[in-house]
């Protein structure tokens, strides 16, 4: 059925974000696929050959994108994290939206689904082994209900992976993605005097945003399916990352850090939900050996380049 010369078509959710644009650009340049964006936000300044639909994933219009049956892959980046949105709204958007997308993929025979999940789904916990494998339970939502959506989307897509055998599903769980993008770790590392917890300095793993884009492109290769941790170039203490960037952390004793951060969040001074404090307190690192063995994935960027990626101009 699939003609080798036919131009392939990929649907990318969350394309309007900085990272979504980077992924779109990479696929456009390297694979020369036709790109269709799905996002509730507009995409100002998009290239002419990118088709964009400013729609809700749950709407009929989103279904229409798949209806022709010529979509070759879905890349789902559109997990909404907005900490200021109402939890019920977020839940409905994320979970109902993802369920609908998976239904469309099944109904209209999309052969490939790639979900960009996160290593955060395992949760930072004091009793974590130093390196979590893909088989570790996803416990992040036990301590913070705010992580519930992320964990549940991962569960939804893992179930889909086993249920829909005819679809090649790939779940990528990268560690903290850093780069000129807007996510919690990059935002944190851009603060000149970031808060740190007195007496805590966990080992962290970071991954360059271009390496994650590489992994997504690799996941599109036919025949690849499964769940993969993306571990990045190595492990360093958080303090070494901050020192490398020339940041001077403000050491706060952990019993008072929570109320302070909560107040700052309420007043709109900080955009970090309190639950994220555990990421600068406990270890949450992953074993990336499966991705390197089965996908042949190896980060191109070393530790230093990865750390400095946060200061790249956007």
């Amino acid at each position: 059925m699939t003609d080798a010369r036919r131009i392939r078509k990929v649907v990318i959710t969350g394309i309007s974000g900085r990272f979504g644009r980077i992924v779109a650009r990479r696929i456009h340049h390297e694979l020369d696929w036709q790109i269709v964006g799905l996002d509730r936000r507009a995409m100002p300044g998009r290239p002419k050959d990118i088709e964009h639909h400013q729609v809700d994933l749950r709407s009929k219009k989103a279904r229409d994108v798949f209806r022709a049956g010529d979509v070759d892959a879905l890349i789902h980046l559109g997990v909404m994290h907005d900490p200021r949105a109402r939890p019920a709204e977020l839940y409905s958007w994320n979970i109902a939206g993802t369920t609908k997308l998976l239904d469309y993929c099944l109904a209209y025979r999309v052969p490939k689904v790639v979900l960009l999940s996160s290593a955060n789904v395992y949760g930072p916990r004091p009793d974590n082994p130093q390196f979590l494998t893909e088989n570790a339970p996803l416990l992040a939502s036990q301590r913070f209900p705010q992580m519930r959506d992320l964990v549940e989307i991962d569960h939804l897509v893992s179930t889909f992976l086993w249920r829909a055998q005819q679809v090649e599903t790939v779940i990528l769980r990268p560690v903290h993605i850093v780069g000129p993008i807007h996510n919690a770790p990059s935002n944190y590392l851009r603060i000149a005097r970031p808060p740190a917890l007195l007496g805590f300095d966990p080992m962290v793993q970071l991954i360059h945003y271009q390496d994650v884009a590489d992994a997504i492109v690799t996941a599109l290769v036919p025949g690849r399916r499964g769940i993969y941790n993306l571990a990045g170039p190595g492990e360093v203490p958080l303090s070494a990352v901050l020192a490398e960037l020339g940041r001077v952390p403000v050491q706060i004793p952990h019993p008072v850090a929570k109320p302070i951060l909560q107040l700052a969040f309420r007043l709109g001074i900080s955009s970090f939900p309190v639950a994220e404090l555990d990421f600068i307190r406990y270890v949450c690192m992953v074993d990336g050996r499966r991705a390197s063995a089965e996908l042949g994935f190896r980060p191109r960027f070393g530790l230093r380049d990865t750390i400095h990626a946060v200061d790249e101009p956007g």
Partner: protein, 286 residues
Amino acid sequence: MHTRGVSLLDRWRQLRGVVPDDDVAGRAHDLVIRGNEFGFDEFGLSRSSFRGVMTVSRWLYRNYFRAAAFGVENIPTSGRVILVSNHAGQLPWDGLVIAAACFLEPAQPRVVRSMVEYFVPAVPFASYLFARWGQIIGTPENCRRLLAAEECVLVFPEGARGISKSFARRYQLAEFGTGFMRLALEMRAPIVPIAVIGAEEQAPAINVKSLARLVGAPSFPVVPYPPFFPIVPLPVKYRLYFGEPIWMTGDPDDDEEVLEDKARTVKARIQAMVQHGLRERAHVFW
């Protein structure tokens, strides 16, 4: 040698005279540490931090506990190995002394990675300092990874039963867990048995069970001298006996009883080494 009629002062001078000059910096330099460009290994161990803690440990090892080590040639100079030792004394000074011995005594110093309890990462400062010094959370996955990287892992199979044993039960080894045996079989790692003499008398404590229940701790040791909690160990003399490596064979997924039997043979070996050490020594403090 202990002889009657020698004054305490003479004994003190004698003890002070034999402290060797250790080259801590040189030995720290010779350690095999798999560091990245920032100087940390994947568990957070850094050479400079390890050197710092060994500077302090050396003083404890040489001057405070005046430790003597026998059979250090049984510590392999390289390659994976599981050190298995008896455990006692309310606070894990025995772990520190074993680590110092493996750093100071053999021709090729080695980093000893010991397991810490699951609550340690939640304790400020201990959370990261222990990691910088090479200590790891005691999960089987962590041990497996270190052994696969040809490192040296220290296990106390008596666990909490051992460290909190009361003074009356000193040198009677508590029941061994089987985790170390499963690891040794699975990873094909030799076991070096260690008998530690001294640690079991460093805190002559009784365990007040009612207080332990009250504070929700596994034990509540009380010693008969201020500050009544065994923070500062008595200056006992440590004697460490390193036995010949034991190679176990078998299936790591065998029944628990089979593994218990195998663990018991290691326990018997260490108990015999302990009895030998107790016969050889003249006094608890010198």
